[in-house]
Symmetry: none
Subunit: 220 residues, 4 copies
Amino acid sequence: MNPETRPPRWQRRAEARPQEVLEAALAVFVERGYASARLDEVARRAGVAKATLYLYYANKLELFKAVVRHALVDNLDEVARLQAAAGARPGREQLTFLLHAFMRRVAGSPLSGIPKLVMAEAGNFPELARFYHDEVIARGRAIICGTLARGIAAGEFRAVDVDYAWRVVIGPALLAIIWKHSFLAFEDRGMDFERHLAVHLDMLFNGLAAPDQKGTRDEP
Amino acid sequence: MNPETRPPRWQRRAEARPQEVLEAALAVFVERGYASARLDEVARRAGVAKATLYLYYANKLELFKAVVRHALVDNLDEVARLQAAAGARPGREQLTFLLHAFMRRVAGSPLSGIPKLVMAEAGNFPELARFYHDEVIARGRAIICGTLARGIAAGEFRAVDVDYAWRVVIGPALLAIIWKHSFLAFEDRGMDFERHLAVHLDMLFNGLAAPDQKGTRDEP
Amino acid sequence: MNPETRPPRWQRRAEARPQEVLEAALAVFVERGYASARLDEVARRAGVAKATLYLYYANKLELFKAVVRHALVDNLDEVARLQAAAGARPGREQLTFLLHAFMRRVAGSPLSGIPKLVMAEAGNFPELARFYHDEVIARGRAIICGTLARGIAAGEFRAVDVDYAWRVVIGPALLAIIWKHSFLAFEDRGMDFERHLAVHLDMLFNGLAAPDQKGTRDEP
Amino acid sequence: MNPETRPPRWQRRAEARPQEVLEAALAVFVERGYASARLDEVARRAGVAKATLYLYYANKLELFKAVVRHALVDNLDEVARLQAAAGARPGREQLTFLLHAFMRRVAGSPLSGIPKLVMAEAGNFPELARFYHDEVIARGRAIICGTLARGIAAGEFRAVDVDYAWRVVIGPALLAIIWKHSFLAFEDRGMDFERHLAVHLDMLFNGLAAPDQKGTRDEP
DNA sequence: TATGAATGAGAATTCATTCAT
DNA sequence: AATGAATGAATTCTCATTCAT
């Protein structure tokens, strides 16, 4: 009866809403995949009614695109930051720095949802995949390849085939992202990102072979 | 009128059916993703009625499990058996054998869709993810870890932390699968799986660091 | 900053608003029908916010009623004008005049929307239909019947059954209204209202039968 | 518990179903209008589940088209066939036959709801209106125009402008349909379709003008 | 008075699953 | 064993209506 006791049914939050919706949607899309993501749940997590989503995004696909676009910006920013930071260091130190940064700022943050999402949905959304490939992957690749090339030039690294080596370098780090979003919950012992990175770096630089085994090449 | 002259509308092929269904289902699941895969289409491709699927598999999830089991578990077991039978020397030879087998039998075949698929749908179907984790990942992990452990015991490999090293070993190979299904179409120069594996193995065993740089650890 | 220099975002036009809303609503109801008419569109065409409609009309149904009531007045006025003008003329000239006036002032004007709307929605709104029947149709019918009766009395018209003939007289003219609002857009050659009326009048007075065929009655 | 006491959840009625659905749908569409018609109710009246409708018709619009096609196109074809088979003399006899058939088979049957319905929804569903125009109106028009043309050629009819005369011919018959669905309930004396048709035919052939008035043309 | 923002109550449509044959 | 037919339980999207400003 007393209107004071009844909380308002909703608040006007026109500026904040779209942002909140995007964040909720990112989480749901990452967890569920595009097809299985329920707009009901997006709305619930964003704290709005389902119909409210349609005030800002025309339909599920548009919402999805907006999520990716928005999150891509963050990924791009991160890449740019890595690029700048990578600048002037020599090969090994620089590569260590890059992988550290990637693990901490991408794999270990909500940003990791985007690579996972794009990888998962690339087959269904080629346009999205192309954009991600051209804008994010190409830049990341350039950074890694540049670092490798400089390291080789400086005599720090062996003369590997850079065009393929870059995927070997980033592979275990991307696997960490996939693990985080897919299977971590089922691991008995969890997974320590720091430890994973340490082992990765050690093996990356020093190889698996015992010292006296080095030099036995696998290629003719 | 005469039932003898009229060919039967369907053949009894109880033995062949499940196999055909599994193949159709694999294709559809890989193309569409689990959630978007239509049993209608699986049935159509298998050349049976939708209801017939239920004679062999209790529901969609069970069908998916059967697909995975058929496609990967059997393969993994086979790989383990082959590896044992090959009489390869522990360590480098075994690991090379293993990764070759993986790249040829999984990454380079239609089966490669399965890991990508599971990764994409894991958040949505924990039961599915758990099944995959327990049945496929656990076995693959056991095989790799065993190989690593034997290599270390034999003095061929350095004493890395096997519990983490196994992901570093398989990471680049899994990345090849992801690339194949997500971004390969957008690469200018394509991607040669053989070359990828060669570089991977070289780096895996010998490390990136130039020989005179070895021993410089990244961790204190 | 100075509120004086900033023009108000909206004008207070309390008197004009309802009128504008009614006109917009009429157009939308005629185009879409009651059920499919969107209040969003009514508001847009009226240049107000959707919520503003509720300041004047309690809900969609009340708005609809108001539209019809308001537009009926114009229809009634028109009928009254026809009635007065029809006054003293003999049958044929008078009927020609009436149909001319109807085609020009109703069929050929926005007023035509109301008959179309009422015909379309009569089944769903019996109250509306009754009102229209009693107030508009009954008067129009009286005018036509009176004209026919006078024409017969004057020996200009044959002694047709006036109670049925009036619908035959007005039928083609109403069909023109229906055509205008329903199918005209799909006619290759369009439809010339003047020509339609001319043919109508010719056939109405002179009949279709060739002169030497006249007298062959269709009724025993 | 006793399976005998539990009635089967449904029957297989593959041949009868579509027909039953069409009849239920016709009734609902006519009563409610296209937009307000609920597929729920169509299903309920047809005695099937809502999803069953989609076994036979892809969506609401297709169901509606099927209703119209079934209800009218078949009838028109029948009319045309009857007309041809009747071996009536060109001109008056044929046209009389035609209008009789229309009044009996369309205006006097549940089919009469369709023209009224299409007219009401034409603005909202241009595709629907175009379909109706092309499939129904065009055929009806062709039949009438052909009959008129043959009558003129045979010297039974005056040389009217057939492109406009056809609407004058059918106008009063269509008005009967509209009356039936809109205002008949409010007429004191009801409306006798037979009488309406008789007066219509009489006026159509012989005109309203008294015999000695004939020849006074309304057009220069 | 006017409105942008928000929502609840549906509606059409889809699809894994089940039934009767 | 096999299937065509049927359905119930979602899920996306719409829109008249209401609220807070």
